[in-house]
Structures are given as structure tokens and as C-alpha cells.
Symmetry: C2
Subunit: 723 residues, 2 copies
Amino acid sequence: MLHAPSDWSVREAAFDPSRLPHKETVFTIGNGYLSTRGAFEEGYPGDSPATLVAGVFDEAPFVFRELVNAPDWLPLIVLLNGERFSLDRGQILDYERTLDLRYGVLTRTVRWRSLKGQTVEFHFERFASLADAHLLCQRVSVTPLDFSGEIEIRGEINGDANTLGRSHWQWLEQETSPDTAWLRARTRKSDIEIALAMRLSFSGTGSPREEGWDVENHPTLVVRTWAEKGQTVTAQKLVTVFTSRDGGEPRVSAWARLQPVAGLEWEELLKANVEAWDEEWESADIVVEGDADAQLALRFNIFQLLIAGPRTDDRVSIGGHTLSGFGYYGHVFWDTEIFMLPFFTYTRPHIARNLLTYRWRHLPAARKYAEKGGFAGARFPWESADTGEEVTPPWLPDWRDPSRLVRIWTGDLELHISSDIAYAIWQYWLASGDDDFMRERGAEVILDTARFWAERAEWNAALGGYELKDVIGPDEYHEHVDNDAFTNYLVRWHLGIALLLWDWLRKQAPEVAEELTRRLDLNPARLARWQEVRDKMYLPFDPATGLIEQFSGYFGRRDVKLSDYEPRDTSLQMLLGSEGVSQTQVIKQPDVLILLYLLRDEFDEKTLRANYDYYTPRTDYRFGSSLGPAVQAILACEVGDLDTAYEYFMNAAQMDLYDLRGNTKHGIHGAAAGGAWQAAVFGFGGLKVRENGWTVTSRLPKKWKSLNFRFWYRGKLENIVLP
Amino acid sequence: MLHAPSDWSVREAAFDPSRLPHKETVFTIGNGYLSTRGAFEEGYPGDSPATLVAGVFDEAPFVFRELVNAPDWLPLIVLLNGERFSLDRGQILDYERTLDLRYGVLTRTVRWRSLKGQTVEFHFERFASLADAHLLCQRVSVTPLDFSGEIEIRGEINGDANTLGRSHWQWLEQETSPDTAWLRARTRKSDIEIALAMRLSFSGTGSPREEGWDVENHPTLVVRTWAEKGQTVTAQKLVTVFTSRDGGEPRVSAWARLQPVAGLEWEELLKANVEAWDEEWESADIVVEGDADAQLALRFNIFQLLIAGPRTDDRVSIGGHTLSGFGYYGHVFWDTEIFMLPFFTYTRPHIARNLLTYRWRHLPAARKYAEKGGFAGARFPWESADTGEEVTPPWLPDWRDPSRLVRIWTGDLELHISSDIAYAIWQYWLASGDDDFMRERGAEVILDTARFWAERAEWNAALGGYELKDVIGPDEYHEHVDNDAFTNYLVRWHLGIALLLWDWLRKQAPEVAEELTRRLDLNPARLARWQEVRDKMYLPFDPATGLIEQFSGYFGRRDVKLSDYEPRDTSLQMLLGSEGVSQTQVIKQPDVLILLYLLRDEFDEKTLRANYDYYTPRTDYRFGSSLGPAVQAILACEVGDLDTAYEYFMNAAQMDLYDLRGNTKHGIHGAAAGGAWQAAVFGFGGLKVRENGWTVTSRLPKKWKSLNFRFWYRGKLENIVLP
């Protein structure tokens, strides 16, 4: 058994049913192939057990595709002389749940007295092996404290897992023997097959009786034994999972994978997992001295990113709520490229490469999307799933009156995603020096999206520049705007690096350049157009004030002070309505400030300061976007306001641990997790990576004695300790 | 065992997997409290087992409320020496399925050879007892023909039944012993609790071994025995069902109801059911001599109506697709009052009274609906479920491109439903003489909906009359029309009978009249307004031609011939698009002809003939509304065209039996079933009921030697035999 020290473990010292949905997210375990929410083995009324396997999507009404809840491998039910253990009955005498972030093991110790007065101690453990992503391990130890009697333990695979109330699995086949079972099922529309195999073994007393209950879609293994008072009996349940996405026949793979581990003891199973986690943390850990809260929160976020990152599959990315909940249906947003990816780029670059390859694989769909709008090149969808098509729901029920539908415009208009992806590829290249990736995949994405932009931009004679009309920027409180600053500046940058990259490619890989010239029709006229649009892109900027207007007309909107609405417990959008808030200068997240952060070297100190001072008080950072606080923290570091930086940082870092927005039940805010890492490393650590190397600048919060982080730079793991 | 003669039984002589969804609807059994589709006991890939309990609705996205698929009581799985019986494996040597319409018993005989070469004969039987609506009975007999071995039979209650892919049930509790089990569950939003109790018993060989598998949400009873070659073993499964809508604690009721029947033999269970059905058919049967096809089709439709009609519950009505499928989500339309209700009014008047009371109970919701539009009185929703609120989905995915939504206007504009209900109440009163009902419930509905109409009608000076603008008539191919003939004429009639009724009420029940005067504010000015609107309602009619224009401007629409589009296998709406068809005179169903049918006495022969000749060729009766053919048949009788009448009649009567529209898988077309009965009785039998009595006129199709039907008229069962 592992006993994690407090700065490595998330603890829950008492059971509060009202926190169940939040805690199910917090106590998620996983290994990048799949994650399992922290529902109880024995169930609880209103719980949401969920195992989400990366890439396993199916059709869903109105949201097109959704990540599917896999058959539930968790059920482990204990009966004591026929009385069933459940926390909603009897009396909880002692309770502790701990997630060991170091090795991804979730444990729960419960002392419980049944309605009939039998007192028992339970110890549950589970982990999704990081050494073998298809292997899930569980065990429960049961000790009758004041009686002797029959202990019955039932391990089930529940094939009826539903996804937000929708049933996606069609049962195909199963087999049940007294100690092993397997189940095959298939998604109804996307035809993904899954197979789970299970073994239940037992230790602790003489001669247990084993039985298999072959109920369709619910193969169940039952073991019964007699335990004397004080005697501990333990059942170990191993489950293997494969899908048709893994290649081969899932049933055959799951069965074959179960055989070699079926006889192993818990400690042996754990050993490989421990070694795998050691390697992860070797690169990914951040050590903060002097601030236990920040230390735990940082590790919690890093853990969440690590269990969401695909290690071996480059056909998947990470959804906005990772694999830890049903929020956003597993759809992938810019959250991945701009907020989560830097963590992977610098600490687990092979995962970053997989995430970027996911986008490359969907170039065909992105080309069709551009073509549908009448443009050449590639346009990535605002929300993406497994098909690469736009899966933003165009209509959703109004939260105030579900009989009304609200038009969602982000899928139509939030175009900056295509440049966010180019930006992420460029940063990955800068940090990794992975020329192979750039040559074979990255360049094609950057160049083909550049084609789209050069056609989408329109000449505006009055402005004397190219403009991008009718878009949505990162601040989604304002729709249908012209010349969103973030988008215009980023597109200018994008066209610029596309031209640089083109030169590099022609020199370094002329055969690739030739191939792309042909396929993307990169004729001289097109390249000249890129240069022209880049050079003449309209860039809002007032030299007198240093202010960048968020979009054309923004400064003319009503200037309300957020402080006038305090105290409040919801967003300004909720208070004023979508139409109301759009008439003000209140923003969901700091569009311009994110721009200043991403393209930091293009702006001077004065511009930074002016815009920081202007936009900060107008940003609803508490209830607006979950993406805001981390960027605010980094810019606060840049302008030297470390107290504020720390406040913003902790808001991002503790967002899910303490459910600061009340919606963690829908899943981890992956962007906040990645943002917290960026705030620590790029903010407090001041890491800047440029083409000619990297620099760090220590600007630690008051209470931090030191900050230690590591990152990969061009094949070398750098170890930084800042005082 | 019952052997129904061929004119009482629907037979399937071979198994065709491609017809499975259609046949599941056809082989539905039920008793008005619930129905169960004809899915196989052992399951089949892609099947849709469904048990729908009247009134058990839950919230559903976009359609507000949907009838919920109850926990599945059907599973009965047979293993032969461990080999599981299923029709998708092995070889089917002989197969016959029969639905006995006389007693509601579904039987299936299968001779099957397993993959391992074991040959077995199965005989399955099931019925939902009409004598005790909460009791469901099943049995299977198994005879190994060429081997001896272990026969294992598993009876399950499957709590995971989903409704169109949505999961509505929250498991609560269960208990499993070796021969009995029960399950409790609750709908997620509407908080309806259900409980099912089950007993599995066994006969045929020595000492069977029994076992209970207590898998959560899937309590399963298992019995195993040894059978010698040629020896028949039989398992009987009894299930009782109660919901919280029935009053009391469902678990207690289900358990208590199981006890007295648990020890009964099959024949004893059947006896009470047989007696109950005898009583139903005594009133409801129609006998046709000389036409076996028509005979069987009529009985099939009567059976479908009988198993959908609520015998003891006046808080429910019958959905457009009865309780036999998920089509229209169990929503109730005018189909019930205009098409199905006459059958009940004349043969099972207590059911008609329940159906009308359902509307009366929802007057409060209908008042709110009128008020929401700014009107006094009551307006009934176009689609109604358990709340009485409008549940027509305002938006639905376009069938051609599900990412687009189509605006559905019927909920907003198809107002005639309120007069359809008044019409049904009036007809029920005419036939039954049920003054109690009229005084206590019916009058309030007729008067309060009259209030609505008198306010909804607007004066049009140019027309010199009151008009009803922006409505949809029965012909839904034309939306947003003014002065739909059906609606205007019916509203005029409605206001007229409201005034008659008011006079009657003041004389016969002055205390009720006084109470309603107060509650509905029936002051002299309001009553004068009713008279005024009635007298001056704009009624389209051309005395020169005798034609009634379906709505203002209809004759100006493009006049296309349906024959120009033959051959076709879909509706004109599909061929031309919604917008396209609305620009033509093609109609989904004969708006004006239904009016002529309902208010037959207000029109002369010449008008009837002129409109029949005009509208018939413009009506898409094959692929338009399923409500059309029966009315066409009746009017064809009126104009003396009996060959055509017979063709239309058979189209209505065989619509579901032979899946003439390809959509019977979604459930029985209740209106076509009721329409077929009307065509036989009102069409061929010429029954006319007026205030001073009834008359019949024989106008039988050529091949019919005689027609015998019965109906209740003011407490007396009349028996009619027409040559």
C-alpha cells in the first residue's frame, strides 16, 4: 500500500453527498487512453460513474458527436450476511478518500455500521495502469469488526453505461465463468466495438465459493466466503479494455491481455505502474517551497493533464473537459492548443506531437470546411471531435427556458482556432526542434490555413488595410464583430511565419516544398498575396494611449464597472443576458491581453501596461471564461504586480480542486489546468523560449521560497531552480 | 392452448429479420393499462422491446415529454447444454407466430437446430391479462428432439430499457430469491415510481435447481433441469407491474398482487382473461361475411383500439401511435377525438368517457395556454401529454440534413383541436345520453373553449364576416393560412352548440350554470358575442359551383395533378419540399371533406358531390396523412362510389397489418384503426345518430354478403345485421 505524503495527495476526510458530483471529477484516475471518474464501487443514488476512452465518439442529437461513456468496469458490491454495503444506508463511522497524485492510485477507507448493527472496515483501491493503458486494477479488503459471517463480493461489468442519459452501446456477446468474464458491445452509429475482460480473485480465508452470473450486458462474478470477526478478506478485480480503434479484435486482445496479469499480486501490478509514473514526474513535476496549497494545486493540475494526454494515439486530442466528465461532449477547442499544449510541449513532447498530428489528420475535413464557405485552404472547426468536422451545436436550449433555442454562433464565426493551431505548431517546433514533424505534418497545416486566411481577409479602402469582418474573438460576449484584435494580429503573425516556413522548407526539404506547391497550389501570386495581406493587415492600435481596441466599435460600447454588480455569484452574461452584455465593454476573457501574452515580443512595456490597466477591470475573470485567470496571472507578472498574479494563479490552479465555479462536476477545466502550469513556468518562472535559446526570470510570489521546474528544450531536459 | 380460427388471428409463417420492426408493432399485446411490443423473449440484434404504460411520461429534450419505455419484463432465455437459443444463430427449421385477436394471446412455435446440431422445439406464449391489468403472463415449453441434456431457463426483469436511446429510469432497490424477485425504479424528472415483481416456476421433469442472480437493475431467476430426448419442460414467468400513478406503494402492490396468482396454472390465469375479452368483443366485434381480408383487418384494428383504451384511468388519453411504439412520443392529437373516439363512444362508452375526462382535467393548462396568447377561455394544445401543456416540438432536425432545424408550426397554429374536442363531447353525449358527464365535465370544456374562439375571431369588414387568420387546418401542407374552411365551419358549429348547451344547462342544472357563469364570466355580453360571431362567421362557399375553398387563396395556388408524379413511393411533400408543396393545391388530407363528413347534415348532396370531385384528386391519400383514407371511404359511400370506398377502406384497415406506409415500426396508426371502424359502421353501414334516434343504411361493398356490428345507444346495445 502506498502512503502518499500530503503534498502529493488529494484527501477527502468526510463524505458529503452534496459534493458527490464535484468529487467524482476530482477523484478521476486515468492513463491517457481512458479515464474513470471517482464514483463509488458500490454506487450511490444520483452518481455518474463514467469511463471515457479517448476517441470513442458516437452520434448524438444536436451536438453531432459525443464522447461515449464506456461499459462500467467499477461495480464491486459487498454483502455482509446478505446485507448490502452502501453509504446511503447504515452509519458511517470513519471515512477517508485519497487520490495519490504521484502514482494515480485512488483509495478509500470506510468504517461502517449496517442497519442490522454489523460493523465493518473497508479498504478500496483502484488505478488505471500507466504501464499498460488497457489494464484497470481494483481491490477491496473487508474486515468484519464485531461479527463473524458470510462475506459476498460481486464484481460486474455494466454494459448499460449511458452518456448524459443516452444509450450508445449495442450488446453483442459475452461469456461468464466462475472467475472470469468478458463482454463485447458496439456503438450504435459510429460502429466502434469495445471488449472488456474481467477476473475476480480472492484471498484471506479458506475455501471461497465462486459463481458466474451470465446476465446479458452485465456479466457478474460472485465470490462468497466465511470470515471470522477481525479477519480480513480481499477481492482483486482486474479488467482489460480494448476497442476496434486499437486494431485487431477487441475481444481477442482483451482476453489475451488478461491472461498474463490474471495471476499477479497487487504489488506486482502496482510496480510497473509506479515505474511509469516515476518517468512522467521526472519531467513534469514542479516543486514549490513555502506554499503547500500552491504545491498541491499545481500537482493536481499536472496530474489531470498527464492522465488526459494520449501517449500512443495520434488520432485523438484532449477535449475541453479532458476525459473526466461529459462537459462539452468531449469536443476539442483552442483550449488544447493554446492552454494545455505548452505543458506537453515542454514536459511530454511526444504527447504534444500526437495532439498536433490529430489536427494534421483532419486537414481533409478542414479543407472541405473552407470550401463550403467558398474559400481555398483549410479552416479548422471551432469544436472538433473524431471526424474533424464542425461539431459546434448551432442551436442549444436556452438555460432559462429550454423550450426556446439559442443560436450558437461560435462554430460559424470563431475563426481564430486555425491560427491557434499554427501558433501551437510553431511553439512546439521552437521548443523541440522537431524538424521531421514540421516537414512532414506541421508545415502543411500552417501553409494550408494561411491560404484560407489570405482569401478570407478583405480590403477596406477606408481603413487602408485588410480586415476580417464578422468574427468572434476569444471574448465570446461579443459576436459578429469586425477586426477582432486578437484575430487580426494573430493572422498577420500567421501569414508571416507561413512565409518564413516556406523559405525554410524550400531550403531544407525541397522535395516536400515541391509536393506542397503542387497540392496547395502555392504559386508566386498566392505567396505575394500572403505577403500583401500580412503587411497591410489592419491592426487596431492608438499610439497616443497605447490601447488596442478589442474590435471595431468596442470603445463605443457602454462602459460598466464590474464592481457595480458586486456581490454576485454568476457571470455578467447571466445578469444582463447575452444581448445586454454585448452592449457593454464587459468581456468574458481578455481578448487583447491573451494576444499580448502570445505575441509578447511584438509589443513594448508601455502598450502592455496600458492595455493591462484598461482591460483587467472590464474582464469577468471569476465567472467569465475559465481560460482567463491564468493569462491574467502571467501578465500581472509581466507588469510586476505579483500579489495580483498570485491571486489569479491560485484561482486557476484551485478552480477544480475547490469547484470555484460550481461546474467542476462536468469535468476538469483542462485549459485552467494547463494555464496554471503556464502561470507557474512562464509567469513566476519567467521562462521565455526564442529561436536562439531560452531565458528564465524569477518573479516568485512572496511566500514561495523557491520554484523548481523542468522542461525539454531541443532534446535536453533542463532543470531550473529559482530562488 | 387456444387455437384461434383464421379470421381471428394474425399469422407469421416465416421469420424475416428485415420485417422485425414492423412485426414488433403488429404483434403488440396489451390491456389498456400497458402494451408490450412483439419483441422476442430471447432478444434479437436491433430489436426494440418496449412496454409502454399509459401516462408514464418523463422529460425529453426538444419534445418536452415522452412516453417512457418501462423496465422490460420479457426476457426469457433458454440454454441447451450451455448453448444459448437465438434466431440469429443456428438454423430455423420451422417457425410460426400467431396473435390471437380474440383473447390477446401471442404464441410462437419454433423448431431450431443449434450450431452444435441440437434440435429443439420451442413454444412461447404471452398475454397481458385483461382481467387484471397489472398481470403479465409468459411461458415457454422446450422439447429436445434429438438429444438429452441440461435445459437452463433464465427469466429477467431488465431495468435498463431505453426510450429512443434515452435512459429515463433511476434504479432504486430490488430483491432476488431463487424463484421470485422484484425491482423498483423511478423516472429521472417526473418522479414516477415503478415496481415489477416476478415469479418463475417450472414443470415437466424431476428436480430442477433454482437460483436467483441479484444483479443490480437486472434481477434474474434461473432454473436448470435435465430433460431426456422428447421430454417437454415448461417454465412459466409471471410479472406484476404497478406505478406510483396507481396510488399506494408500487413495490407493495406488485408484491401483493403476485402472491395469489403465483401458484396458478396457465389455464387458470387464462380463464379470467378469456372472460374479460368475451365481454369486450360482445360489444365491439364486427362480422363481415364474404371478405376474409376485410374481416381480419377490421378485427386487427379493433383489437389495437381495445388494447390502447384506458379502462380505469381518466387521467390519460391515447397517443397518435397508441401504446405500440415510440412514434410521436406518446403525444395525443385530434386523432383521438375525431378518429378513435367514435369507436369507444359506440362500443366501449366508459373508455370514451375516460378519454374525454382527460381533456377536462387539463382545462387549467388550456386556460393558461389561451391566456399566454392574450385570450380568455381555454385553448387545448395541438400535442398533449401528461401535463396538458403544449408539447409540439417547435423545432425538429431536418430529415435531409439533421444539422438544420425545421420550425414546426402546428403547435402554434393548428387551433381546430379545441373544437374537435367539443365535437367529440357532443357526439358522446348524443350517443350515450350521459347527462351527468355533460353537466359535470363536458359543458365546462365546450363553454370555455367557446370563450376562446369568440375572442380569437376577428371582424373583417371587406368580407363582412368574422374570420380566423393565421391558422393551420387538418391539411398541414399549407401553413399560416386565413379562414381555413374546416376551422371556420367547425368554430361556427361550436359556438352554436355552446349556446344550445347553455340553455340546456340553465334549465336542467341551474346550480351548475350559476357556478359556470361565475367562473367563466358568462355574462350576457359575452353570450351575445358568441351569437354574433356564430351568425357572422365567414364561411367560404361558392353557390355557383358548390365548392368550399379550403382557405383564402387556395384556388389561386398552382393546380398540379397527382397523377403527373406517378409512380412514386413517397409523399408530394418529400418530392416538392415543404415550401414547394405549399405553393400547390396538393393536400395532405382532405380538409374540406373531413368537414363535410363531420357536419354532414349542414350540406346538401350537390355540395358534397362537387367538393368530393374537386378535392379527391388533389389529396395525397397514399403518402399524405394516415387519417385521410378512412374519411375518403365514408364520403365515397355517401356519393355512392362503393368500389372506391372499398379501396380507401382497405387502405386504412390494412395500413399497419401490411405496413403500407413503411412506418408501422413506430407504432400503430391509431387514427387509421379508428377510421377503419368508422368506415365500416358509418360508411358501409350508414349509421347516423341524431338527437331523435339513429338510422342505418346498407351500402356494402360488392363482395360483402353481410355486415354485422353492434353499438351502444343511450344504455342499450343495438345489434345490426345488414345484408
